[in-house]
Symmetry: C3
Subunit: 339 residues, 3 copies
Amino acid sequence: MDFVGQSILSVDQFERADVERVFDIADAMAPYAHRTHITRVLRGAILSNMFFEPSTRTRISFGSAFNLLGGEVRETTEIRETSFAKGESLQDTARVLSGYSDIVVMRHPQPGSVSAFAGASRVPVINGGDGANEHPSQALLDLYTVRKEMAVLGRGIDGLRIALVGDLKYGRAVHSLCKLLGLFSRVAFNLASPPGLEAPPEITERLQTQGHVVQQSHHLERSIHHVDIVYVTRTQEERFASPAEANRYRGLFRLNQAVYTEHCEPNTVIMHPLPRDSRSEARELDDDLNANPNLAIFRQTDNGVLVRMALFAMVLDVVDQVHQHAMPVTWYTGKRTPR
Amino acid sequence: MDFVGQSILSVDQFERADVERVFDIADAMAPYAHRTHITRVLRGAILSNMFFEPSTRTRISFGSAFNLLGGEVRETTEIRETSFAKGESLQDTARVLSGYSDIVVMRHPQPGSVSAFAGASRVPVINGGDGANEHPSQALLDLYTVRKEMAVLGRGIDGLRIALVGDLKYGRAVHSLCKLLGLFSRVAFNLASPPGLEAPPEITERLQTQGHVVQQSHHLERSIHHVDIVYVTRTQEERFASPAEANRYRGLFRLNQAVYTEHCEPNTVIMHPLPRDSRSEARELDDDLNANPNLAIFRQTDNGVLVRMALFAMVLDVVDQVHQHAMPVTWYTGKRTPR
Amino acid sequence: MDFVGQSILSVDQFERADVERVFDIADAMAPYAHRTHITRVLRGAILSNMFFEPSTRTRISFGSAFNLLGGEVRETTEIRETSFAKGESLQDTARVLSGYSDIVVMRHPQPGSVSAFAGASRVPVINGGDGANEHPSQALLDLYTVRKEMAVLGRGIDGLRIALVGDLKYGRAVHSLCKLLGLFSRVAFNLASPPGLEAPPEITERLQTQGHVVQQSHHLERSIHHVDIVYVTRTQEERFASPAEANRYRGLFRLNQAVYTEHCEPNTVIMHPLPRDSRSEARELDDDLNANPNLAIFRQTDNGVLVRMALFAMVLDVVDQVHQHAMPVTWYTGKRTPR
């Protein structure tokens, strides 16, 4: 599967070999994302970055990735801007807007809407998140981060031990990551959530069927003892019936430096799909971990640009041309890591 | 009239020869809009795409057209973002913002506002719609579509038979299209609207004075019998005194495949300025016509990019330079037409 | 201080030599801002133009300045778009979003927020206004305008006589301009405000300590008699406890052509940070001055683009490369000055 001209709608489209190819291409994007070189391979191409639900980080990440390949970005950020209010069907919107660009990234609160849009679009569509359903580039950047963090230790994804902790019921990122990890061999999953926020059975049963080891509990501390990675999630309050309902769960699971020191092996990598909730009543991942070199959460978001560049390059069939359009960067680029 | 450095505010600025020149230039833009080539003729130029009223399709169409010529786009999408709330006059806003760009596209809900803005602007302004008043690029893309659809049949615009059906009172697009069609010879107009939504007398009288044949009725079916084109409009609910008032008219005129088959000549072209209202209570143009090859509504919006490129090229005086900056496209561009 | 890789957060970072260097660089940007040439020196660079408070003119001015240097712009315009609503800290937002770009411009309603953001950012940050605190590029463009207006008369900033009139209590622009003027020699300040809106004592005392002459009054007319420049400010109603409180002051000070003719020396330059309030109850700077050639308010905003280009060029270390990437403009650029 080379994905040329294809829409990227779901992690279900990816086999293990596909995932590894995306990651190899993402690796090749590093000189451009890290600003030692620029490439103009998509000069003149236009991305329609259509966000019918607010998501600043995902929107800017996709837009920057396209700019880094040399393309232009047109954008919409607000659902009320659209013609939906005048009764236009999603299919009409898709057919019209896809006439203005070479590729579309779309985020929309309604599950299935991006696939429906892609069905009527004249150009490839990348799903930037459709409600509780799918957000494939997030899952890919998470797994790409797992690969890079493990590579530092001379290891691969096969045989990984990972704890997934927090809201496993509504956490779309966790569900998709589980699907992708399932493509690999002998992964040990420790799933820990507050009672009522367990992972859906179809997720856990699929993993077991694939031969992985799945342990479930309601205890944060016990779940993180013997793992390579702790993946923490925020309570997805926007998916609950009411804020009060979400509040019942907020703050129950808190990973901080003291818990980490007491329970985790040295060099256990900490991940989180972000944003993390730093308000005192939540703090599922405490700011006191910011100095911990194993905190990989910002490496995750940086990796997101590489993965999104890779997806664009694959779909628009320029993987082999990227380096032909490379030039050295001549401006100040001393990206620094703040304390 | 070459329009170099001129603002495009109204269809009244166009004589027949001007319209034909715009269309010839639009034809020449096809290689760029259809992505066989890119051009960088406006490299370094900046468009201020100022939308003080939501209109995603028009905004993205203008922005993409400018990108396709190689220029950059700065944008504003929200009236409350502006300094109007602090008591700034439209003239001050115009003088300031026109200092930041080479050309301005402006949409604003208030009739006459774009002309007022243009009067104080330091750069040319294109009217992207000022309330119920004017939207000249829409009228031009509609007529350009008429020309292309008729050309397929070996015909021109002279002698056209066209039915305009629906809300002819508030439909700005219809009024402007009538003015442009009036520049040609022997056009036969069938105007059909629900009682109360007739075209204004100044429109019909002008057409008759110009020697065209105008027939008016309240019957959709009879009006579409012997015409080349049926141009359907949505009930412009935002122009009515209240939603309840608009609801009285919604759904009265419905063109669907059954009506088309029974009443229209074969190959009658169907147009609509979009968005169409696909909710069950409206459906002035039914989705069951989507498979009809004579449905030209998406060809219309695609043509809009060509026409807007032509306007930019004329105003910024690069018509003769566009092809000098052309390069072949090297990425995937298999634009497809979905079912 | 060369500012390479540095954040620009406050006018306090600037010594007199720094200010003069910014202005020399701004002068060198004129061919690009005035569209006789384009430069592509920042080709491939990305600005994150992050406005967490509406300010169309400042946002477009920064964005256009970056485009004029050849760079790309990614943007956010709405506070509710952000992850703040999900409890994300400003530091997390900074660390994530700064991974997507080469430089950030940020505006935010909360004083100190931009510095906090810069502390966690991986790339340089330019303060585009943080509430009542700082807006350094506005102060620099104001002083740059002073320099250019005085240069026409064969004079410099030393020895300047300036009246600052209106809301001197909440006018952030006035405070910062006073700080920068304080770096020069023998400036005579006439500060005139309605009772209750006087300049803060720390501002006036600092100027006096630096050896400048400061006169304070509550009379517009007397303050503008023997000055080179009258700098008028709007009542900053958004900083008052309530609209009613602000209304008590609105309209008390009004400069119009009659007042100007009666009280000002010929060629007294009129400045204003804009927007001016042109509603009948305010009119601190009347539209009847628009024909007065000494009205410099639009020259101010045009100068803003030059100053912001200079700041970008300094921070990204391309000052000496700008002209190497220059090309003549080939499109229509007859910028005109409307009546």
